[in-house]
């Protein structure tokens, strides 16, 4: 049994997959560097990311499981689950051995695990597209802080870029300490907060742009007005808007 560590990049993981074949490691676990591995009786090795090797695995995967399949692998990988690399390795090995698109074999434990994880991540992506609340700052940036369970910023970027093409916006992931900034030209990943008036919980009222107060008030009022007391169903409400997301929602404050 060998424990292979990589730098936490997707290319890094693909490099490990490549080397597992290159060096014929049969029994192995793949982990991100920094994750604790059992100390006793274990052999560990840190694999250096190699773009060439990663590319070759990518190409092979494209043949075996198609672009849609790679997207599922990538999405599941973004879950950051401790054992997700082992699941992905299991799927890739199965794909190489059976030489057909195994991603529709829902009865295979690794394939099923991959799909279920990708589904959880996809659900969180969708929630962020729904629950992001932009606050307009004095310098004209629509700002939002999120704290998603999985690393979904790369997945939501195209959605926000396409939709909010005529306003500057910033979405910051407070757990992973990075964000996306769109400057009317392109959306880029950045690892800073643009303004000292912005805390990890959002924009401080001193930094609100014109009309921000009013729109938050109007939206809260609107939310109250849409409720029909005769149909009250708190269980259903909380099922759709889990409490951990309330801190970002203007209407739930």
């Amino acid at each position: 049994m060998i424990w292979l560590l990589y730098d936490g990049s997707f290319e890094g993981m693909l490099t490990v997959v490549f080397e597992s074949y290159e060096y014929r490691w049969k029994k192995l676990h793949i982990r991100k560097e920094g994750i604790t591995v059992p100390l006793l009786f274990t052999e560990t090795k840190t694999v250096v990311t190699d773009e060439e090797k990663a590319k070759r695995v990518w190409k092979k995967l494209l043949d075996l499981i198609g672009a849609k399949g790679i997207r599922s692998v990538w999405t599941a990988w973004l879950s950051e689950k401790e054992t997700i690399e082992d699941t992905i390795l299991g799927v890739i090995r199965y794909a190489i051995d059976s030489k057909q698109n195994v991603l529709s074999d829902f009865a295979h434990p690794d394939v099923l695990q991959l799909h279920q994880t990708a589904k959880s991540v996809g659900r969180e992506k969708h929630r962020m597209e729904a629950f992001v609340r932009f606050q307009l700052t004095k310098d004209g940036i629509y700002f939002s802080v999120i704290d998603p369970d999985f690393n979904v910023l790369p997945l939501v970027l195209p959605h926000f870029r396409d939709r909010y093409a005529d306003q500057r916006w910033f979405i910051f992931d407070s757990r992973r300490k990075y964000g996306i900034y769109y400057d009317l030209k392109e959306a880029q990943f950045v690892d800073f907060v643009p303004n000292s008036l912005i805390s990890l919980n959002g924009v401080s009222p001193d930094a609100f742009g014109e009309g921000e107060d009013l729109f938050q008030k109007l939206w809260s009022d609107y939310f109250k007005s849409t409720n029909i007391p005769g149909r009250k169903n708190t269980k259903l409400h909380v099922q759709h808007v889990p409490k951990r997301y309330w801190k970002y929602l203007v209407e739930k404050k």
Partner: protein
């Protein structure tokens, strides 16, 4: 100024909330030339009301002044309530302000009928036009069409809106006569027919000329109120089926009647909202739209009401036990869809997975199938879980007593109502 806007929003959102449609799906309008917004094909619910309904659109009335006197409607002219009206610019500003903050997918604009149908419709169209042309807004717009509005206005509405709807509200002609004397079935079906014909005509033209403009790309929908009059589920399902087939409706919404007005033609103010009945109707609707069921298979003149205790698919299966058990490793997709406890996604996964190997109970359970119900209707590669032949009544009882219905807390109050 600000207070007045707040007050208007409260009044005009409050009177719009009984329209249950909030869908923002079905349109693929793109954001072209760096304008604002686009439509998400599958729709996005940005929040949920405390009664658990999705909030996707800014749903408001342009005004709640109305010349009609429909008994079920809070805005009816004889009702003594606060009245208000937005200006076109106010609706536009609210929509844009909410949209930029990612509160909503777009606007659902309806209105009381002030003066006449054309004046009202013209004002609704003007809001949509202003959003699309002046603000280059590509988010979702749903316009309620006003029965009796001219074809020209309807045509213009469809060019700016993603979805149009005409609410029939009461599923039978006698219901309309009783509660909405100003409306007739014919006056409601005329605009539905116009929308449906225009969509079809433009689709045909588009095959020859790609630049043909989009007309209501997310189609049309309607709403029926359930429990305000004495119509049966059978009549409701028949009406829905006629709309789906006759006018290619995307959705029929069922809205359990919320007693808001005292009127001797209506259920009393203490009547509970028939949530369970509403839910069963939606399940029946899903069976027609996604599971290949015909209206006649769900209810017939011998069965006028849906069984409140069990879902309509299970009900159908109990009446058709001779078709089961089904071999999950061999049966057609269409039949697998009809097994109680198996949904569309699970059915697709079964078809995909069984190409690799024969499936057993453990596989099925992991795919997310509810074996609690399905076990009585299927066999697989493993030993059968059920070997006895049950009578429908026994089976019904077995399944009911083994599961926890999400409605169990509603039993006490609602079964007696419909008992």
């Amino acid at each position: 100024m600000q207070e007045r806007l707040q007050e208007k929003l409260n009044i005009l959102a409050d009177s719009a909330k009984y329209d249950v449609s909030c869908s923002s799906s079905g349109s693929d309008r793109k954001n072209t030339g760096k304008g604002l917004g686009n439509a998400s094909a599958s729709g996005i619910c940005h929040t949920y009301t405390e009664d658990g309904r999705c909030v996707s659109l800014l749903k408001i009335l342009l005004t709640n002044h109305c010349i009609f006197d429909c008994a079920y409607c809070v805005s009816r002219k004889s009702n003594d309530i606060k009245r208000a009206a937005f200006t076109v610019q106010e609706v536009v500003d609210l929509t844009i302000g909410f949209y930029r903050r990612n509160y909503i997918e777009g606007l659902f604009l309806s209105s009381g009928i002030f003066k006449d149908a054309d004046t009202t419709m013209e004002r609704l169209v003007r809001v949509a036009k202003k959003l699309r042309t002046e603000h280059r807004f590509n988010g979702y717009i749903h316009l309620k069409t006003i029965p009796g509005a001219s074809d020209e206005l309807m045509r213009e509405a469809g060019l700016y809106a993603d979805r149009l709807s005409v609410n029939i509200e009461l599923p039978t002609e006698r219901g309309l006569k009783l509660l909405a004397p100003d409306k007739t079935f014919t006056s409601m079906e005329k605009p539905m027919g116009f929308i449906s014909n225009t969509i079809t005509a433009l689709d045909d033209t588009r095959k020859l000329m790609l630049s043909t403009p989009k007309f209501a790309p997310a189609g049309q929908s309607t709403q029926v109120i359930v429990g305000a009059t004495d119509e049966s589920d059978h009549e409701i399902i028949q009406t829905a089926d006629r709309f789906y087939r006759g006018f290619q409706l995307k959705r029929v919404y069922y809205s359990g009647y919320v007693p808001v007005l005292a009127d001797n033609r209506l259920p009393s103010l203490s009547t509970q909202v028939p949530l369970l009945r509403e839910n069963r109707l939606y399940q029946a609707d899903w069976l027609m739209r996604f599971y290949g069921f015909g209206a006649h298979e769900i209810l017939d003149s011998g069965h006028s009401y849906l069984d409140l205790d069990i879902d309509p698919k299970f009900g159908w299966a109990l009446r058709n036990l001779h078709l089961f058990p089904l071999d999950i490793n061999k049966a057609d997709y269409e039949m697998i869809l009809r097994v109680p406890g198996i949904g569309v996604r699970s059915a697709q996964k079964i078809i995909a997975a069984r190409r690799f190997k024969s499936l057993g109970w453990e596989n099925l359970r992991k795919l997310g199938i509810s074996l609690n119900r399905a076990r009585y209707f299927i066999v697989c590669k493993d030993r059968a879980l059920e070997t006895k032949e049950y009578m429908p009544e026994t089976l019904r009882h077995l399944v009911l007593s083994s599961g926890n219905s999400k409605f169990s807390d509603l039993w006490g109050t609602q079964t007696s109502l419909f008992g």
